[in-house]
Subunit: 215 residues, 2 copies
DNA sequence: CCTACCGATCGGTAGG
DNA sequence: CCTACCGATCGGTAGG
Protein backbone atom coordinates (compact mmCIF):
# COMPACT_ATOMS: atom_id res chain seq x y z
CA UNK A 1 0.00 0.00 0.00
CA UNK A 2 1.54 3.32 -1.04
CA UNK A 3 2.18 5.85 1.71
CA UNK A 4 -0.15 8.37 0.05
CA UNK A 5 -3.04 5.97 0.61
CA UNK A 6 -2.16 5.05 4.16
CA UNK A 7 -1.54 8.66 5.06
CA UNK A 8 0.12 7.64 8.26
CA UNK A 9 0.33 10.51 10.73
CA UNK A 10 -1.78 12.82 8.58
CA UNK A 11 -5.32 13.77 9.51
CA UNK A 12 -7.82 12.18 7.18
CA UNK A 13 -10.50 14.88 7.57
CA UNK A 14 -10.53 18.57 6.77
CA UNK A 15 -8.38 20.96 8.75
CA UNK A 16 -7.22 24.54 8.44
CA UNK A 17 -8.89 26.50 5.66
CA UNK A 18 -10.89 23.50 4.46
CA UNK A 19 -12.32 23.13 7.93
CA UNK A 20 -13.32 26.78 8.05
CA UNK A 21 -15.08 26.50 4.69
CA UNK A 22 -16.96 23.43 5.85
CA UNK A 23 -17.92 25.01 9.16
CA UNK A 24 -19.06 28.17 7.42
CA UNK A 25 -21.40 26.16 5.23
CA UNK A 26 -22.98 24.57 8.31
CA UNK A 27 -23.41 27.93 10.07
CA UNK A 28 -25.00 29.46 6.96
CA UNK A 29 -27.44 26.57 6.72
CA UNK A 30 -28.61 26.47 10.34
CA UNK A 31 -27.69 29.79 11.95
CA UNK A 32 -25.49 30.21 14.99
CA UNK A 33 -27.62 28.56 17.65
CA UNK A 34 -28.86 25.90 15.25
CA UNK A 35 -25.33 24.78 14.44
CA UNK A 36 -23.79 22.11 16.66
CA UNK A 37 -20.13 21.37 17.00
CA UNK A 38 -21.05 17.75 16.36
CA UNK A 39 -22.57 18.66 13.00
CA UNK A 40 -19.46 20.59 12.01
CA UNK A 41 -17.15 17.79 13.11
CA UNK A 42 -19.26 15.25 11.22
CA UNK A 43 -19.28 17.32 8.05
CA UNK A 44 -15.54 17.84 8.28
CA UNK A 45 -14.98 14.14 8.98
CA UNK A 46 -12.99 14.76 12.12
CA UNK A 47 -13.73 14.02 15.73
CA UNK A 48 -15.11 16.71 17.93
CA UNK A 49 -11.95 16.48 20.01
CA UNK A 50 -9.90 17.34 16.95
CA UNK A 51 -12.24 20.21 16.19
CA UNK A 52 -11.76 21.57 19.68
CA UNK A 53 -8.03 21.25 19.44
CA UNK A 54 -8.05 23.54 16.39
CA UNK A 55 -10.66 25.93 17.79
CA UNK A 56 -11.04 26.09 21.55
CA UNK A 57 -14.73 27.04 21.51
CA UNK A 58 -17.72 27.54 19.25
CA UNK A 59 -17.31 31.30 19.48
CA UNK A 60 -13.63 31.09 18.58
CA UNK A 61 -14.46 28.92 15.58
CA UNK A 62 -17.10 31.39 14.46
CA UNK A 63 -14.67 34.28 14.82
CA UNK A 64 -12.11 32.42 12.71
CA UNK A 65 -14.72 31.75 10.03
CA UNK A 66 -15.76 35.39 9.82
CA UNK A 67 -12.15 36.55 9.76
CA UNK A 68 -11.28 34.17 6.92
CA UNK A 69 -14.39 35.17 5.00
CA UNK A 70 -13.78 38.90 5.37
CA UNK A 71 -10.14 38.36 4.44
CA UNK A 72 -11.11 36.52 1.27
CA UNK A 73 -13.46 39.34 0.31
CA UNK A 74 -10.95 42.12 0.84
CA UNK A 75 -10.14 44.07 -2.28
CA UNK A 76 -12.72 42.01 -4.18
CA UNK A 77 -13.84 45.23 -5.82
CA UNK A 78 -10.40 46.38 -6.98
CA UNK A 79 -10.51 45.10 -10.57
CA UNK A 80 -13.95 46.57 -11.13
CA UNK A 81 -12.82 49.90 -9.74
CA UNK A 82 -9.93 49.84 -12.18
CA UNK A 83 -12.38 49.36 -15.02
CA UNK A 84 -14.50 52.28 -13.81
CA UNK A 85 -11.44 54.49 -13.56
CA UNK A 86 -10.54 53.85 -17.19
CA UNK A 87 -14.09 53.86 -18.56
CA UNK A 88 -14.81 55.95 -21.63
CA UNK A 89 -18.26 56.94 -20.44
CA UNK A 90 -18.38 57.70 -16.72
CA UNK A 91 -22.10 57.11 -16.41
CA UNK A 92 -21.89 53.72 -18.05
CA UNK A 93 -18.85 52.87 -15.96
CA UNK A 94 -20.77 53.73 -12.80
CA UNK A 95 -23.75 51.66 -13.92
CA UNK A 96 -21.54 48.66 -14.60
CA UNK A 97 -19.90 48.99 -11.20
CA UNK A 98 -23.24 49.45 -9.48
CA UNK A 99 -24.54 46.30 -11.15
CA UNK A 100 -21.58 44.33 -9.79
CA UNK A 101 -21.90 45.78 -6.31
CA UNK A 102 -25.57 44.93 -6.18
CA UNK A 103 -25.10 41.38 -7.42
CA UNK A 104 -22.25 40.81 -4.99
CA UNK A 105 -23.92 42.16 -1.88
CA UNK A 106 -27.24 40.49 -2.63
CA UNK A 107 -25.70 37.07 -3.25
CA UNK A 108 -27.13 34.31 -1.07
CA UNK A 109 -23.93 33.50 0.80
CA UNK A 110 -23.00 37.13 1.35
CA UNK A 111 -26.50 37.87 2.60
CA UNK A 112 -26.57 34.93 4.98
CA UNK A 113 -23.13 35.74 6.32
CA UNK A 114 -24.29 39.27 6.95
CA UNK A 115 -27.37 38.06 8.82
CA UNK A 116 -25.24 35.73 10.90
CA UNK A 117 -22.67 38.35 11.85
CA UNK A 118 -25.36 40.92 12.58
CA UNK A 119 -27.32 38.57 14.82
CA UNK A 120 -24.23 37.90 16.97
CA UNK A 121 -22.91 41.46 16.83
CA UNK A 122 -23.85 42.32 20.41
CA UNK A 123 -22.40 39.14 21.85
CA UNK A 124 -19.24 39.20 19.70
CA UNK A 125 -18.62 42.88 18.98
CA UNK A 126 -15.01 42.48 17.88
CA UNK A 127 -16.02 39.89 15.28
CA UNK A 128 -18.68 42.17 13.82
CA UNK A 129 -16.34 45.14 13.91
CA UNK A 130 -13.67 43.27 11.95
CA UNK A 131 -16.27 42.22 9.40
CA UNK A 132 -17.53 45.79 9.06
CA UNK A 133 -14.03 47.08 8.51
CA UNK A 134 -12.74 44.44 6.09
CA UNK A 135 -15.75 43.79 3.96
CA UNK A 136 -17.32 47.21 4.05
CA UNK A 137 -15.41 50.29 5.15
CA UNK A 138 -12.40 49.13 3.22
CA UNK A 139 -14.35 48.81 -0.02
CA UNK A 140 -16.03 52.18 0.54
CA UNK A 141 -12.61 53.76 0.90
CA UNK A 142 -11.43 52.10 -2.30
CA UNK A 143 -14.47 53.41 -4.14
CA UNK A 144 -13.84 56.86 -2.65
CA UNK A 145 -10.30 56.82 -4.04
CA UNK A 146 -11.59 55.94 -7.48
CA UNK A 147 -14.12 58.77 -7.31
CA UNK A 148 -11.36 61.13 -6.30
CA UNK A 149 -9.29 60.02 -9.26
CA UNK A 150 -12.24 60.60 -11.57
CA UNK A 151 -12.74 64.03 -10.05
CA UNK A 152 -9.08 64.84 -10.58
CA UNK A 153 -9.59 64.16 -14.28
CA UNK A 154 -12.69 66.32 -14.44
CA UNK A 155 -15.10 63.42 -14.85
CA UNK A 156 -16.87 64.20 -11.57
CA UNK A 157 -17.03 66.90 -8.96
CA UNK A 158 -16.70 65.39 -5.54
CA UNK A 159 -15.54 67.66 -2.76
CA UNK A 160 -15.97 64.79 -0.28
CA UNK A 161 -15.23 61.54 -2.12
CA UNK A 162 -15.83 59.33 0.91
CA UNK A 163 -19.28 60.77 1.46
CA UNK A 164 -20.01 60.42 -2.25
CA UNK A 165 -18.91 56.77 -2.15
CA UNK A 166 -21.25 56.03 0.74
CA UNK A 167 -24.13 57.80 -0.92
CA UNK A 168 -23.67 55.95 -4.20
CA UNK A 169 -23.43 52.64 -2.38
CA UNK A 170 -26.66 53.12 -0.43
CA UNK A 171 -28.54 54.51 -3.40
CA UNK A 172 -27.65 51.30 -5.23
CA UNK A 173 -28.16 48.63 -2.59
CA UNK A 174 -30.20 50.11 0.26
CA UNK A 175 -33.71 49.19 -0.84
CA UNK A 176 -33.02 45.73 -2.31
CA UNK A 177 -30.70 44.76 0.57
CA UNK A 178 -33.34 45.70 3.11
CA UNK A 179 -35.98 43.74 1.23
CA UNK A 180 -33.77 40.68 0.92
CA UNK A 181 -32.77 40.73 4.56
CA UNK A 182 -36.37 40.88 5.73
CA UNK A 183 -38.20 39.01 3.03
CA UNK A 184 -37.62 35.28 2.62
CA UNK A 185 -34.92 34.09 0.30
CA UNK A 186 -37.35 33.40 -2.50
CA UNK A 187 -37.85 36.94 -3.75
CA UNK A 188 -36.27 37.15 -7.21
CA UNK A 189 -36.25 40.93 -6.70
CA UNK A 190 -38.54 41.55 -9.60
CA UNK A 191 -39.53 45.04 -8.53
CA UNK A 192 -36.09 46.44 -7.80
CA UNK A 193 -35.31 49.80 -9.33
CA UNK A 194 -32.67 49.66 -12.09
CA UNK A 195 -29.25 50.74 -10.86
CA UNK A 196 -29.31 53.49 -13.47
CA UNK A 197 -31.83 55.42 -11.35
CA UNK A 198 -29.30 55.47 -8.51
CA UNK A 199 -26.45 56.51 -10.80
CA UNK A 200 -28.52 59.29 -12.30
CA UNK A 201 -29.36 60.82 -8.94
CA UNK A 202 -25.70 60.50 -7.98
CA UNK A 203 -24.65 62.29 -11.16
CA UNK A 204 -27.27 64.99 -10.62
CA UNK A 205 -25.24 65.94 -7.59
CA UNK A 206 -21.73 64.94 -8.59
CA UNK A 207 -21.70 65.18 -12.39
CA UNK A 208 -18.97 67.43 -13.80
CA UNK A 209 -21.28 70.32 -14.69
CA UNK A 210 -24.21 69.73 -12.42
CA UNK A 211 -25.74 70.73 -9.27
CA UNK A 212 -25.97 73.01 -6.34
CA UNK A 213 -23.75 70.67 -4.33
CA UNK A 214 -20.88 72.70 -5.76
CA UNK A 215 -22.48 76.13 -5.74
CA UNK B 1 -58.93 41.88 53.01
CA UNK B 2 -60.19 44.28 50.32
CA UNK B 3 -61.10 42.74 46.95
CA UNK B 4 -58.49 44.87 45.15
CA UNK B 5 -55.79 43.14 47.13
CA UNK B 6 -57.17 39.64 46.78
CA UNK B 7 -57.87 40.10 43.04
CA UNK B 8 -59.90 36.91 43.04
CA UNK B 9 -60.40 35.44 39.59
CA UNK B 10 -57.94 37.82 37.95
CA UNK B 11 -54.50 36.71 36.89
CA UNK B 12 -51.87 38.25 39.14
CA UNK B 13 -49.16 38.42 36.49
CA UNK B 14 -48.98 40.10 33.13
CA UNK B 15 -51.12 38.90 30.24
CA UNK B 16 -52.15 40.17 26.84
CA UNK B 17 -50.30 43.28 25.72
CA UNK B 18 -48.39 43.59 28.99
CA UNK B 19 -47.11 40.07 28.51
CA UNK B 20 -45.99 40.84 24.97
CA UNK B 21 -44.13 43.93 26.16
CA UNK B 22 -42.41 41.96 28.90
CA UNK B 23 -41.52 39.12 26.57
CA UNK B 24 -40.20 41.56 23.97
CA UNK B 25 -37.86 43.06 26.54
CA UNK B 26 -36.45 39.62 27.33
CA UNK B 27 -35.96 38.78 23.64
CA UNK B 28 -34.22 42.10 23.03
CA UNK B 29 -31.89 41.47 25.95
CA UNK B 30 -30.83 37.93 25.13
CA UNK B 31 -31.66 37.29 21.48
CA UNK B 32 -33.94 34.55 20.23
CA UNK B 33 -31.92 31.48 21.16
CA UNK B 34 -30.72 33.04 24.38
CA UNK B 35 -34.25 33.66 25.58
CA UNK B 36 -35.94 30.90 27.55
CA UNK B 37 -39.63 30.50 28.09
CA UNK B 38 -38.84 30.13 31.80
CA UNK B 39 -37.21 33.55 31.86
CA UNK B 40 -40.22 35.14 30.17
CA UNK B 41 -42.65 33.43 32.54
CA UNK B 42 -40.63 34.54 35.54
CA UNK B 43 -40.39 38.14 34.35
CA UNK B 44 -44.10 38.22 33.64
CA UNK B 45 -44.82 36.61 37.01
CA UNK B 46 -46.84 33.79 35.50
CA UNK B 47 -46.17 30.09 35.27
CA UNK B 48 -44.70 28.56 32.17
CA UNK B 49 -47.95 26.65 31.76
CA UNK B 50 -49.92 29.90 31.65
CA UNK B 51 -47.50 31.30 29.15
CA UNK B 52 -47.97 28.31 26.91
CA UNK B 53 -51.73 28.62 27.20
CA UNK B 54 -51.58 32.14 25.76
CA UNK B 55 -48.94 31.30 23.17
CA UNK B 56 -48.61 27.69 22.05
CA UNK B 57 -44.91 27.85 21.20
CA UNK B 58 -41.85 30.04 21.39
CA UNK B 59 -42.16 30.84 17.69
CA UNK B 60 -45.84 31.77 18.08
CA UNK B 61 -45.01 34.06 20.98
CA UNK B 62 -42.26 35.70 18.97
CA UNK B 63 -44.60 36.19 16.01
CA UNK B 64 -47.17 37.85 18.28
CA UNK B 65 -44.50 40.16 19.69
CA UNK B 66 -43.31 41.26 16.26
CA UNK B 67 -46.88 41.78 15.04
CA UNK B 68 -47.74 43.93 18.05
CA UNK B 69 -44.54 45.91 17.65
CA UNK B 70 -45.01 46.56 13.95
CA UNK B 71 -48.63 47.49 14.59
CA UNK B 72 -47.63 50.04 17.20
CA UNK B 73 -45.14 51.59 14.77
CA UNK B 74 -47.56 51.90 11.88
CA UNK B 75 -48.16 55.46 10.78
CA UNK B 76 -45.64 56.67 13.32
CA UNK B 77 -44.31 59.03 10.66
CA UNK B 78 -47.68 60.58 9.75
CA UNK B 79 -47.49 63.73 11.91
CA UNK B 80 -43.96 64.49 10.74
CA UNK B 81 -44.99 64.07 7.13
CA UNK B 82 -47.80 66.53 7.73
CA UNK B 83 -45.28 69.04 8.99
CA UNK B 84 -43.07 68.52 5.93
CA UNK B 85 -46.03 69.01 3.64
CA UNK B 86 -46.81 72.40 5.15
CA UNK B 87 -43.22 73.54 5.61
CA UNK B 88 -42.28 77.03 4.43
CA UNK B 89 -38.85 75.95 3.27
CA UNK B 90 -38.84 72.55 1.57
CA UNK B 91 -35.15 71.89 2.20
CA UNK B 92 -35.47 72.64 5.89
CA UNK B 93 -38.61 70.55 6.07
CA UNK B 94 -36.77 67.63 4.48
CA UNK B 95 -33.86 68.03 6.88
CA UNK B 96 -36.19 68.04 9.87
CA UNK B 97 -37.94 64.91 8.61
CA UNK B 98 -34.63 63.20 7.86
CA UNK B 99 -33.43 63.94 11.36
CA UNK B 100 -36.51 62.28 12.82
CA UNK B 101 -36.24 59.26 10.52
CA UNK B 102 -32.62 58.74 11.44
CA UNK B 103 -33.22 59.07 15.16
CA UNK B 104 -36.17 56.70 15.00
CA UNK B 105 -34.55 53.96 12.96
CA UNK B 106 -31.29 54.10 14.88
CA UNK B 107 -32.95 53.90 18.28
CA UNK B 108 -31.71 51.03 20.44
CA UNK B 109 -34.97 49.15 20.64
CA UNK B 110 -35.77 49.58 16.96
CA UNK B 111 -32.30 48.42 16.04
CA UNK B 112 -32.42 45.38 18.29
CA UNK B 113 -35.86 44.42 17.04
CA UNK B 114 -34.58 44.67 13.51
CA UNK B 115 -31.62 42.43 14.28
CA UNK B 116 -33.90 39.92 15.93
CA UNK B 117 -36.40 39.77 13.08
CA UNK B 118 -33.62 39.62 10.49
CA UNK B 119 -31.85 36.77 12.22
CA UNK B 120 -35.00 34.65 12.22
CA UNK B 121 -36.19 35.76 8.78
CA UNK B 122 -35.31 32.49 7.04
CA UNK B 123 -36.95 30.34 9.69
CA UNK B 124 -40.01 32.57 10.10
CA UNK B 125 -40.49 34.25 6.72
CA UNK B 126 -44.07 35.36 7.30
CA UNK B 127 -43.08 37.17 10.50
CA UNK B 128 -40.29 39.04 8.75
CA UNK B 129 -42.51 39.81 5.77
CA UNK B 130 -45.19 41.34 8.00
CA UNK B 131 -42.55 43.42 9.77
CA UNK B 132 -41.12 44.61 6.44
CA UNK B 133 -44.55 45.63 5.22
CA UNK B 134 -45.88 47.34 8.35
CA UNK B 135 -42.82 49.10 9.62
CA UNK B 136 -41.10 49.82 6.33
CA UNK B 137 -42.91 49.63 3.00
CA UNK B 138 -45.90 51.35 4.53
CA UNK B 139 -43.85 54.29 5.74
CA UNK B 140 -42.06 54.56 2.39
CA UNK B 141 -45.43 54.77 0.65
CA UNK B 142 -46.56 57.49 3.04
CA UNK B 143 -43.39 59.45 2.34
CA UNK B 144 -43.93 58.95 -1.39
CA UNK B 145 -47.41 60.45 -1.12
CA UNK B 146 -46.04 63.48 0.66
CA UNK B 147 -43.38 63.93 -2.01
CA UNK B 148 -46.07 63.69 -4.67
CA UNK B 149 -48.10 66.36 -2.90
CA UNK B 150 -45.02 68.62 -2.76
CA UNK B 151 -44.42 67.98 -6.45
CA UNK B 152 -48.02 68.91 -7.21
CA UNK B 153 -47.41 72.27 -5.58
CA UNK B 154 -44.20 72.82 -7.54
CA UNK B 155 -41.90 72.34 -4.54
CA UNK B 156 -40.23 69.29 -6.07
CA UNK B 157 -40.04 67.46 -9.35
CA UNK B 158 -40.57 63.78 -8.77
CA UNK B 159 -41.72 61.72 -11.74
CA UNK B 160 -41.52 58.57 -9.59
CA UNK B 161 -42.34 59.56 -6.00
CA UNK B 162 -41.95 56.04 -4.62
CA UNK B 163 -38.46 55.71 -6.04
CA UNK B 164 -37.62 59.17 -4.74
CA UNK B 165 -38.88 58.21 -1.27
CA UNK B 166 -36.69 55.11 -1.21
CA UNK B 167 -33.65 57.03 -2.38
CA UNK B 168 -34.09 59.75 0.23
CA UNK B 169 -34.55 57.16 2.93
CA UNK B 170 -31.38 55.25 2.11
CA UNK B 171 -29.33 58.38 1.59
CA UNK B 172 -30.29 59.37 5.12
CA UNK B 173 -30.02 56.11 7.03
CA UNK B 174 -27.99 53.63 4.94
CA UNK B 175 -24.50 54.29 6.22
CA UNK B 176 -25.29 54.87 9.92
CA UNK B 177 -27.74 51.95 10.04
CA UNK B 178 -25.15 49.62 8.58
CA UNK B 179 -22.56 50.81 11.05
CA UNK B 180 -24.87 50.45 14.02
CA UNK B 181 -25.99 46.97 13.00
CA UNK B 182 -22.44 45.71 12.68
CA UNK B 183 -20.61 47.76 15.28
CA UNK B 184 -21.37 47.26 18.93
CA UNK B 185 -24.02 49.37 20.56
CA UNK B 186 -21.50 51.74 22.07
CA UNK B 187 -20.78 53.81 18.99
CA UNK B 188 -22.21 57.28 19.59
CA UNK B 189 -22.09 57.73 15.80
CA UNK B 190 -19.73 60.63 16.02
CA UNK B 191 -18.59 60.41 12.43
CA UNK B 192 -21.99 60.21 10.77
CA UNK B 193 -22.58 62.58 7.89
CA UNK B 194 -25.11 65.32 8.66
CA UNK B 195 -28.52 64.57 7.18
CA UNK B 196 -28.25 67.80 5.21
CA UNK B 197 -25.72 66.13 2.87
CA UNK B 198 -28.35 63.52 2.00
CA UNK B 199 -31.06 66.11 1.49
CA UNK B 200 -28.80 68.20 -0.74
CA UNK B 201 -28.02 65.28 -3.03
CA UNK B 202 -31.71 64.47 -3.10
CA UNK B 203 -32.57 68.05 -4.06
CA UNK B 204 -29.85 68.09 -6.71
CA UNK B 205 -31.95 65.50 -8.50
CA UNK B 206 -35.45 66.38 -7.38
CA UNK B 207 -35.33 70.09 -6.64
CA UNK B 208 -37.89 72.20 -8.53
CA UNK B 209 -35.42 73.70 -11.01
CA UNK B 210 -32.59 71.21 -10.95
CA UNK B 211 -31.09 68.35 -12.65
CA UNK B 212 -30.86 66.11 -15.66
CA UNK B 213 -33.22 63.63 -14.01
CA UNK B 214 -35.93 65.64 -15.74
CA UNK B 215 -34.13 66.49 -18.95
C1' DC C 1 -52.65 28.16 37.95
C1' DC C 2 -48.16 25.53 39.60
C1' DT C 3 -44.51 22.11 40.67
C1' DA C 4 -42.37 18.56 38.93
C1' DC C 5 -40.63 16.31 35.28
C1' DC C 6 -39.88 14.31 30.37
C1' DG C 7 -36.88 12.89 26.07
C1' DA C 8 -33.13 14.98 23.57
C1' DT C 9 -29.48 17.35 22.96
C1' DC C 10 -26.19 21.07 23.92
C1' DG C 11 -20.84 22.66 24.29
C1' DG C 12 -16.93 20.88 26.10
C1' DT C 13 -13.56 17.24 28.09
C1' DA C 14 -12.20 12.86 30.24
C1' DG C 15 -8.81 8.69 29.65
C1' DG C 16 -6.19 5.93 26.54
C1' DC D 1 9.11 8.59 22.31
C1' DC D 2 6.04 11.69 19.55
C1' DT D 3 1.89 13.71 17.05
C1' DA D 4 -2.65 13.00 15.66
C1' DC D 5 -6.81 11.15 16.71
C1' DC D 6 -10.83 8.34 18.82
C1' DG D 7 -15.12 6.43 21.49
C1' DA D 8 -17.55 7.53 25.32
C1' DT D 9 -19.46 10.45 28.40
C1' DC D 10 -19.40 14.52 31.55
C1' DG D 11 -22.57 18.36 33.98
C1' DG D 12 -26.31 21.43 32.67
C1' DT D 13 -30.18 23.08 30.20
C1' DA D 14 -33.35 23.47 26.28
C1' DG D 15 -38.53 23.54 24.79
C1' DG D 16 -42.57 21.49 26.00
Amino acid sequence: MPPETRRRGRPSGRTGTDLLDTARAVFLEHGYAGTTMDAIAARAQISKASLYREHPSKDALFAAIVRAWADAGRDAMRPHLQRLESAEDTREGLIALAEIMRAGILGREVLRMRRLVTSEAERLPEVAAAYLEDSWERNIRALAETLRALADRGRLRAPDPHLAAEQLTWLVIGAPLNRRLLAGTDDPDGHAAPVATAVDLFLAGYGPENGPLHA
